[in-house]
Symmetry: C2
Subunit: 251 residues, 2 copies
């Protein structure tokens, strides 16, 4: 008999090739699967809700794993935290769920935060944790006005990585909010699901608006073009955080 455990995970994406296992280097998934195998003595699949790219961080990634039923959720959390050692990966919550619950397919929402630091001086403490935008000041009001045009159900082909494997380019963006936070701009994005690079491509485009190089009309035109080359560049991974995944009541 096994129990299905949902774990909420915080990680620094800097040293990893991303969430997902790859032959090219160490992934967060591999770190967790190796720790789970050490705990249980068997091969364990750790299935994540979101496949973050290399350099992308998480404060609220969710994943599930099935463990022999002698291990309860709290023991899984404590053991994984001990067994992941010095890797910057931490299980901050664990709970048992129904065996039908699936971290990826049951998810009804994902939230991302993008941190942007618009100043000439490099960040010392937040190196690798924010997009250091050397181009100087960005206008959050102009960015918010352009962001409003992207909220709702749209064909996001222009904001989708060419290697994106989703069947459809249509997504419903529930929230896209620009929040000045001290010297930084925080961009909050929420949707049921996102296309590959969708948040980073949106942020790269909004930064052009903030710098006065693009207007809201340019953003509307880019969206309508349904062509990746019509939108702005991909913002770097180090500013992006997967902050939360939501599930229906009962999971």
């Amino acid at each position: 008999m096994t129990r299905r455990i949902f774990i909420t995970i915080e990680y620094d994406g800097t040293p990893f090739v991303g969430w997902q296992r790859q032959v090219t280097g160490l992934s967060v998934q591999q770190v967790l699967e190796e720790a789970a195998a050490e705990l249980t003595g068997g091969d364990i699949l750790v299935q994540g809700a979101g496949r973050t790219d290399s350099g992308v961080h998480a404060t609220g990634q969710v994943a599930h794993l099935d463990v022999p039923d002698k291990f309860d959720a709290n023991r899984v959390m404590e053991a994984l935290n001990a067994l992941t050692g010095d890797h910057p990966v931490s299980i901050i919550e664990a709970r048992e769920v129904d065996s039908e619950a699936h971290a990826r397919f049951s998810a009804t929402g994902r939230r991302y935060l993008y941190r942007l630091l618009p100043r000439r001086q490099p960040p010392a403490l937040d190196h690798g944790r924010v997009w250091h935008h050397r181009g100087g000041a960005l206008d959050p009001g102009a960015m918010q006005a352009a962001a409003a045009l992207l909220v709702g159900r749209h064909d996001f082909t222009s904001f989708r990585a060419s290697q994106c494997q989703a069947d459809s380019p249509v997504r419903t963006l529930d929230e896209l909010r620009i929040e000045p936070q001290g010297e930084e701009l925080h961009i909050h994005a929420a949707a049921r699901s996102f296309l590959h690079h969708q948040v980073r491509n949106i942020v790269g485009t909004l930064a052009l608006v903030g710098a006065g190089k693009w207007t809201s009309e340019d953003v509307a035109a880019a969206l309508a073009a349904k062509d990746r080359s019509a939108a702005g560049p991909t913002a770097p991974p180090e500013g992006l955080y997967l902050t939360g995944v939501t599930y229906p009541t009962g999971i």
Copy 2:
């Protein structure tokens, strides 16, 4: 002819032996002095306002240096940021001051922040940036009540490192405030100047109060004892940030 420049510096204290030059390893001061020497072609002393210990961070350290007058403040900032390279040190502000102004001796106030994360789960993104207090929840109200007893002018012998070189153990603590901040507790401390380890020794003691092991009365007794062994342990350096230094109007 030279100009005296005040620089405001942000740094990650993790890889350094501290602010001050030491034979045992790399200091922030050495990184800045080597960059200044490369810029000007001569030996330059970079005099800091506060001598932070190894592992202690800064978001608002201030230092002064004298440069040949062909370099203005902005050029000094840009050049030092370029020449400090990959070291986690960044000049975030620079301004010319009167040649009598002294980063250390003219300072009229110093502010520190101490970040404490009371939870079992280790921090992934903030490893080395907070004190991970595994002991669980801390009561901020009890800590604030005890903190109030330390505010004002006192003989802080009980909270002073044995190797402290200050002539007098008497200091006036202007502020000692506990602020819950999400999962963290932030402790804000302000004074004209601090004794060696004073903030960390106070935090280590307040954590005993927060955990219910000590009462406010124990803290008052520890202060009155004028004996380092009567107070709590020294909190670790990684939670401490020098956030600002103040100067009289006109500097």
